[in-house]
């Protein structure tokens, strides 16, 4: 597999809603999930943007 193929495979998996399995082991939280990016897209396109700070606040509350 070439690097270009790996990039395409990674993009395709992300669009299918899959995150790298081991990512959660090295990172406590992942903010840029497919769902979060969907929200951003919706906000940009509908001019009703979700505030990033609100998302962070929500994540911090989850931590507590």
């Amino acid at each position: 597999m070439t690097f270009e193929e790996a990039i395409r495979t990674s993009i395709k998996a992300f669009y299918d809603g899959k995150l790298p399995e081991k990512l959660s082991e090295i990172q406590e939280q992942v903010i840029y999930t497919p769902e979060f990016l969907d929200e951003i897209e919706q906000g940009v396109l509908e001019e009703k943007a979700p505030k990033k700070s609100k998302k962070k606040d929500a994540l911090e509350e989850d931590d507590e």
């Binding site: 990039i7 990674s10 993009i11 992300f14 939280q29 951003i40």
Partner: protein, 218 residues
């Protein structure tokens, strides 16, 4: 007499193990990566695409039928060469980065191709002819549209109210630090007292033209 590829009596190749003695910090990718957190990497690329002309370049590439996957490849490979992340980490962040490109393309109403199909169609002579017909007349991103998007993005990213966002020109906006390169009056530079004193490339060129090829006296 055939030429010998290797002269055992006068070797001129590297000595085995020589690589172990070289300075490992010669290139950025020889050092530890700057970024190891995927969210931090996406933030970095988001900033890089928002405040520089790289964003314009990628949007115009998308308009020229370059796929998002190819743009992502370029962007993450640039990060590798800058020592920002490792190649395997670049593959991990390819997904979110492609979504960023997609959102940008949609906001500018650019028809894009994702480019993740298993077998990409071969480039036929007809496709090349079609692209050559279009030439370089790719319609640039509308600055007014970019400015309108700036407000949306600042609101979306919840910028600090006390400290205005550095880039007030939107996603593709011109950095206020960028010097003017044409003769159109730059109000910010004039206010800073730099308007008349700074000689840009085109100003100098026009000045040379008007003086009949002589360098202007300064």
């Amino acid at each position: 007499m055939s030429r010998q590829l290797f002269d055992a009596q006068n070797p001129d190749g590297p000595i085995p193990g020589e690589n172990m003695t070289s300075d490992e910090r010669n290139y950025p990718w020889h050092r530890s990566p700057d970024i190891t957190d995927s969210d931090e990497a996406v933030d970095y690329l988001s900033d890089k695409l928002t405040d520089t002309k790289d964003g314009f370049m990628y949007m115009n590439l998308l308009k020229a039928d370059v796929t998002i996957a190819a743009c992502v490849d370029m962007a993450v490979t640039q990060g590798i060469s800058d020592g920002k992340w490792t190649p395997d980490f670049a593959i991990l962040i390819a997904g979110p980065v492609s979504r960023l490109f997609e959102i940008m393309a949609k906001s500018y109403k650019i028809d894009y191709a994702l480019g993740v199909e298993e077998d990409l169609p071969p480039i036929s002579p007809e496709v090349i002819d079609k692209r050559l017909e279009r030439g370089s007349l790719v319609e640039p991103v509308d600055p007014a549209q970019a400015e309108a998007l700036a407000l949306e993005q600042e609101e979306m990213l919840g910028g600090n109210e006390d400290m205005p966002a550095f880039n007030s020109g939107g996603l593709m906006g011109k950095s206020p630090m960028a010097p003017s390169v044409n003769d159109v009056g730059d109000s910010q530079m004039s206010m800073d007292g730099l308007g008349d004193g700074v000689i840009t490339g085109s100003k100098l060129g026009n000045s040379i033209k008007s003086s009949g090829g002589e360098l202007p006296d300064e």
